[in-house]
């Protein structure tokens, strides 16, 4: 039982990271019709920004982390929006989808060529010591990951539901035309979505890299997991992505321990097929209407 709880907590910790990536992905899809197939690379890259800041600028980890988040918001938020998405969305959905796939390739191979093809060790915020909580041994680092991820999610939820700007963003996501008529600065809201997505990806990157090491090819699995988390939870809302992420993290950890670790990466396919067959709108999703 103690083992089981330990696995669940470790699963919740990685799941909370997947949730961060999945929330950004969902927000972007809902607000700007951008299906970002480079989302996995968005989570892979910021860790390297932090590594560069530490190695080249000799910054301590805490400062380097802030630098990484800022650079990510600039590059993966503002530049991604203005250079890639804005010109391409005019050409239609398929060209944009294709371009995000190309962006993914670009970031992945760019990291490999210009930084390193080797997996890089990455510092943790909290030491990896075990603490005893009611007889269950839990790693402090995992608790730290869980804490930061949950705090980020709570802050985001508060922002979206509790502030005027957040509610304007939700209005933009649900119906841009009506939002514009009601005086919501839609363009600015879309930009905020890109910034939030980049920020979430950067935090996810800083949290996940100590666990999986920072490697150029991490994006494949991370991206796939984020997509699956978003789909499992249901695309219509942020809550869905949170539940989806946590669930995928826990199932992933349990399956690796009790079923087979060599087929761990096959889990997304199994989950996807199950959810599509039995609950296509996702666990928390609403059915979407179609119009001609």
């Amino acid at each position: 039982m103690a083992d089981f709880l330990q696995l669940v907590i470790a699963g919740l910790a990685t799941g909370a990271i997947y949730a961060l990536a999945a929330i950004g992905f969902t927000l972007l899809w809902q607000t700007s019709q951008t299906i970002n197939f480079a989302q996995g690379e968005f989570v892979m890259l910021p860790a390297f920004f932090a590594l560069v800041a530490m190695k080249m600028l000799d910054l301590p980890f805490s400062l380097a982390a802030l630098v990484a988040i800022a650079v990510a918001m600039l590059v993966l938020g503002v530049i991604f929006k203005t250079v890639i998405v804005d010109p391409l969305i005019r050409q239609g959905v398929l060209p944009l989808v294709i371009s995000t796939i190309a962006v993914g390739l670009l970031l992945k191979d760019g990291t490999k060529e210009f930084y390193s093809a080797e997996a890089q060790p990455f510092p943790t915020m909290l030491p990896d010591t075990l603490v005893d909580v009611l007889g269950v041994k839990i790693s402090l680092a995992q608790l730290g990951v869980l804490g930061v991820a949950l705090a980020t999610i709570l802050a985001l939820q508060w922002f979206l539901a509790g502030t005027r700007t957040g509610r304007q963003m939700q209005a933009t996501a649900q119906n841009p035309t009506v939002a514009r008529i009601l005086g919501v600065p839609v363009e600015r809201m879309v930009l905020y979505t890109f910034l939030i997505n980049a920020g979430l990806a950067a935090i996810a990157s800083l949290l996940v890299s100590p666990i999986y090491l920072a490697k150029f090819s991490n994006g494949e699995t991370l991206g796939l997991t984020a997509f699956v988390a978003a789909i499992v939870g249901g695309f219509n809302q942020v809550r869905g992505a949170i539940v989806g992420g946590l669930l995928v993290g826990v199932i992933d950890n349990l399956a690796a321990a009790y079923v087979s670790s060599s087929y761990r990466q096959a889990l997304p396919l199994a989950l996807l097929v199950l959810i599509i067959l039995f609950r296509p709108q996702g666990l928390l999703g609403r059915r979407e209407e179609r119009a001609v």
Binding site: I35, L88, I276, P280
Partner: protein, 331 residues
């Protein structure tokens, strides 16, 4: 272009393709054969992306299914012809199985399911060592023998692949021109309207995906004897993404697109030898620029330029080539 001119052009291209190996070294013939194999797989992707308006991220996985089926069956003593058909059939059936759930829901779900499927196939090939040899792969795959003639020499095998590719190309050409194929265009342009006038959208998309995937299987069946050694690497997710990109670069939804896209994908690494590993970066940049300025690909670009030359007065209407992407109907 008049019909006579088209026919003449086709004959010239056919003649060039048949005679090409006579003027080429062994390696040149290999590249040419690789182009044909890639083009067959790309034809399949084009049916799925260009005609049925779906996205597949698993064509390399189907290539793998075809390649391993062929390698295993021929090494078990079966003739190549049977193995070839089995490769196509296996990919077709697997395509039906994963397409069926994916196409029940909204657009783009096929992309996610094929993405996950890609990872799964790669895992199976790598992990099931008893069957696939794992990372060690399968070596010494024999090239087929026709009527006692061994197709070992590069040129012979090239002609063999050329003949099969020609047949597969003709079948695809007939398919997209048949009433059945025209329904695809209808459902790409407006799926909901197509549905309302009686096109069974879901089964059409499913069949398109399965047939397109079968082309991947056929390409794999030709790929295995071409390279004579297969391991998991060429069937991973990365190559699947490249298949999708090459079709779009060539011009998705146009019949020549896949051939041109395949040529770019096969030749670009050869031309960019000096840039070594940077070629993927250059390719990715090229794709983005292409999508931003000419989403109809190289074929669309060529058409646009021809139109400009032919009627400079009608310049304004040159840009009105049909955009191939579907704008998703907003609720």
């Amino acid at each position: 272009m008049s019909r006579g001119l088209q026919l003449a052009l086709l004959l010239i291209v056919a003649a060039v393709l048949v005679l090409a190996p006579l003027g080429l070294q062994r390696y040149g013939i290999y590249i040419l054969t690789l182009w044909l194999v890639t083009a067959v797989a790309a034809l399949g992707v084009n049916l799925i992306v260009g005609y049925a308006g779906q996205e597949t991220l698993a064509q390399a996985a189907f290539l793998g299914i075809g390649a391993y089926t062929t390698a295993l069956l021929t090494q078990a003593g079966l003739p190549f012809g049977l193995a070839f058909l089995a490769a196509g059939a296996a990919s077709f059936v697997v395509g039906l199985l994963i397409g069926f759930p994916a196409l029940r829901v909204q657009k783009h779900y096929l992309a996610f399911v094929t993405l996950a499927f890609s990872v799964f196939v790669w895992l199976v090939i790598r992990n099931e060592e008893w069957l696939t040899g794992g990372v060690m792969g399968i070596r010494d795959i024999e090239r087929p023998t026709i009527a006692g003639l061994k197709l070992r020499p590069a040129a012979f095998f090239y002609w063999f692949v050329l003949a099969i590719s020609a047949v597969l190309t003709f079948v695809m050409w007939w398919l997209v021109r048949s009433p059945w194929g025209r329904a695809f265009t209808a459902l790409r342009e407006n799926p909901i309207r197509a549905e309302s006038i009686g096109v069974d959208v879901r089964s059409y998309k499913l069949l398109a995906f399965a047939i397109g995937s079968a082309y991947g299987g056929f390409a794999g069946a030709l790929y295995a004897p071409l390279v004579e050694f297969i391991d998991p690497a060429p069937f991973a997710l990365g190559p699947s993404l490249l298949f999708l990109l090459m079709v779009v670069v060539g011009g998705s939804g146009s019949f020549l697109g896949p051939f041109i896209g395949a040529a770019v994908a096969v030749l670009l690494p050869e031309w960019l030898r000096f840039a070594e590993s940077y070629y993927l970066l250059i390719y990715a940049l090229l794709v983005i620029v292409m999508m931003a300025f000419c989403p109809t690909g190289i074929v669309g670009l060529a058409k646009r330029m021809l139109a400009l030359r032919r009627r400079p007065a009608a310049r304004a209407s040159a840009g009105d080539t049909k955009p191939l992407a579907l704008e998703e109907a907003k609720p």
